[in-house]
């Protein structure tokens, strides 16, 4: 378990962004990572109101949601000609735009930034498709080192059942069909996601992930996350933690499995 209080103020991994004064960044940067269909957005939907109730201003962001490139990525994925390097570059463009135009301004204002995926997903997808790891690490090296990264981990069979139960169908990109990992969507999904999980596992230690067992019921995962997120905030400022209530009308509902198809990246 990483010692969050020992973390230095926010800084970059390898390369400073031009024009950014890192000492100004007062907020907290919290990353939720993990493979497709592991339940990241469900947890974020619970964490955001919980943090807000504790008195934090929260910016909720995620991959492929940038004003600049979000739409372009979505359109590019409609076709079948998006190559692996191009995809990586497009995601990095999206990330850079969100980092500089959303995340950094929010951190400057003392906001807690909660992000669904981070550069690790971009890196993992590229590495799983055979791109060079050190190239990726250097290229993504302008990212901020987060205060905490929670890696929601599950084996591929768990993801399969979540996809089948929750969405009812396999997705072209989540199955890695662009890279031909298997002869049909199921085989390809299993092979590609297994490879992604292995890459995430290999990033966990060097990038200081806190691994959360996401095979448990979402409510239990949520409890683990709340405990860990609480530790990020300094003890003197630490707000009172409201115990979860059992009423169905609770203001910050515990996450439940979603069955809709309104998921974002």
């Amino acid at each position: 378990m990483p010692d969050y209080k020992a973390r230095p103020p926010l800084s970059y991994y390898r390369t400073a962004l031009p024009g950014v004064d890192y000492s100004e960044l007062q907020g907290k940067l919290i990353v939720i990572e993990g493979p497709d269909a592991v339940g990241r957005s469900t947890q974020i939907r619970g964490l955001k109101p919980w943090l807000e109730e504790l008195g934090h201003a929260v910016l909720d962001t995620g991959m492929a949601r940038s004003a600049l490139a979000g739409k372009g990525i979505k359109e590019a994925k409609q076709g079948n000609t998006l190559g692996p390097v191009t995809m990586t570059m497009y995601y990095l463009t999206d990330f850079a735009d969100r980092l500089e135009n959303e995340i950094i301004p929010a951190l400057r204002a003392g906001v807690v930034v909660l992000t669904d995926r981070y550069i690790y997903s971009v890196m993992a997808r590229a590495i799983a498709r055979g791109e060079n790891r050190s190239w990726m690490e250097q290229t993504a090296g302008f990212a901020l080192v987060p205060h905490a990264t929670f890696y929601l981990r599950a084996e591929v069979q768990h993801l399969v059942s979540r996809v089948v139960v929750g969405r009812g169908a396999f997705d072209y990109w989540e199955s890695g069909l662009d890279n031909g990992f298997g002869r049909n969507m199921y085989d390809s999904f299993v092979r590609y996601q297994s490879r992604l999980i292995r890459v995430f596992d290999s990033l966990a230690e060097p990038y200081g992930f806190e691994t959360i067992d996401a095979t448990r019921p979402p409510v239990e995962v949520f409890e683990s996350l709340k405990t860990s997120v609480s530790r990020i905030f300094d003890a003197p400022d630490k707000p009172r933690i409201v115990p979860p209530r059992k009423s169905p009308q609770r203001s910050h509902p515990a996450p439940t499995l979603r069955t809709g198809s309104s998921r974002r990246e």
Binding site: T15, G19, E100
Partner: protein, 237 residues
């Protein structure tokens, strides 16, 4: 660490570089035409031309929302798309690919925008190494005269207005191009550019380019794509 991946052919990659107004586009158009007439299969690829990123680039420019880093990355995305879908497969098929601007443009321009030099060089490590890279060397004032005389409106990013060098767009363009020129000049040796004196006549520059191409490539007898064993070919036009 090498900057680029080796081109394992059999096609050949020719690129032209230089500041705006150096005349490189005119020269590569003439060279492509000449190569076609000599029987080569010629393909052409221009900087910032991929349909995949066109809308994103337009959005970013229109709303002036680019940072130096996102500006660099969207151009790398454009380049990656052209590399993966066009340049690489055509080189494998034996074409001569002519590129108007290449990764060197990013190395010069993005660094002037404040992007880290080592970072942007690493970014393009997926690119193939050109077989020939021509650099059109021209004094700043000559190039500025060609550009500022011939066109009416400079665009915001083209003039480097995002850098806040000057509130006057023409003055900003001058300073911006001057700095890019300095980056190019510093790259000549490092990147092994074939330097073309771009103050000379169009005809004599073209003659020099053709001489270098013939010397480096040999000539091709059969029309169409290049064979695998190009270096060994001692052929006649």
């Amino acid at each position: 660490m090498p900057y680029f991946l080796p081109n394992r052919g059999p096609g050949r990659l020719i690129v032209v570089e230089g500041i705006d107004g150096s005349g490189k586009s005119t020269q590569i158009a003439l060279l492509s035409q000449w190569l076609r007439l000599r029987g080569y299969a010629v393909a052409f690829s221009e900087w910032n031309s991929s349909p995949l990123v066109k809308e994103t680039t337009r959005r970013g420019k229109k709303k002036e929302m680019f940072t130096p880093t996102s500006f660099s990355l969207i151009h790398a995305t454009d380049f990656a798309d052209r590399m993966e879908r066009y340049i690489l497969p055509l080189l494998k098929a034996g074409a001569v690919v002519c590129a108007d601007r290449y990764a060197y443009t990013a190395f010069a321009r993005d660094v002037v925008r404040g992007v880290d030099r080592a970072w942007v060089r690493n970014l393009y490590r997926f690119a193939l190494k050109p077989d020939l890279a021509f650099y059109f060397k021209v004094p700043l004032e000559t190039a500025l005269g060609r550009i500022l005389g011939g066109r009416n409106a400079l665009k915001y990013y083209e003039a480097g207005m995002d850098l806040g060098l000057s509130r006057n767009i023409e003055e900003s363009f001058r300073i911006f191009q001057g700095r890019i020129l300095a980056e190019y000049e510093a790259m000549i040796e490092e990147m092994g550019f074939h330097v073309i004196d771009a103050t000379k006549s169009i005809e004599s520059q073209q003659k020099e380019m053709r001489r270098i191409v013939l010397r480096e490539f040999g000539t091709v007898r059969a029309p169409g794509v290049l064979g695998v064993d190009l270096n060994a070919a001692r052929l006649h036009a």
